[in-house]
Amino acid sequence: MLFFGRVHELTGFREETEELHEGTTLDDLFERYTKRFPSLAGFRSSLVASRNQEFAAWDTKLADGDEIAFLPPVSGG
């Protein structure tokens, strides 16, 4: 798991490793984080998930070794 921008500030982490059950989706993983960091819940609709450095649908099933991030709206330029 990697954390950037506002999400980094909310969680206090830059990165960490999570153990998941088989069949866990990005949605399930996000749900798990909202239990640890309730203030994240309100941001769900303004975050996009990435898996292995590609934007990914929330129902994507995760596999061993995946690199995941919940990315805030981007504001480069």
Binding site: L2, F4, G5, R6, T25, S46, L47, V48, A49, S50, Q53, E54, F55, A56, A57, D59, T60, K61, A69, L71, P72, P73, V74, S75, G76, G77
Partner: protein, 155 residues
Amino acid sequence: MPTISHEDLFELVQAPIDVPALRQLVRGAGDGAIVIFDGFVRNESHGRATKYLEYEAYEPMALSKMREIGSQLHQKFAIHRVAIVHRLGRLEIGETSVLISVSAPHRAAGFDACRFAIDTLKKTVPIWKKEYFEDGAIWADGELPPAPPTAKPAS
């Protein structure tokens, strides 16, 4: 795999961006024009005086998205070379944060490609900007990149 000219350049840097060097880099004998987008730090945001900005990136993903933009440019527009460089870390007022340099035999393709590149960068490249003011700091409003609505079956 999309083909990218080995002369193209995609970089995230901490040091100031060398604009003249990036103009020279894309220049070829068959070109007739270079179009440059030089994005730099404005002194205000929504009427509040900006002190400075800080940029951070999901670096490997940002570079891969910048390379994707480069390959799209070659597919869509009759250009020669492209350089896209974004600076990270603390930037002062007036400093260049992003530089896009496109060379082409004819100007129309250069203008169109440069515009497409900056518009797409602002929507798809995972870079974030924090604006610092006298009385606090905020993450700049951004754009949520498009993601697939649902996962492909059996992936």
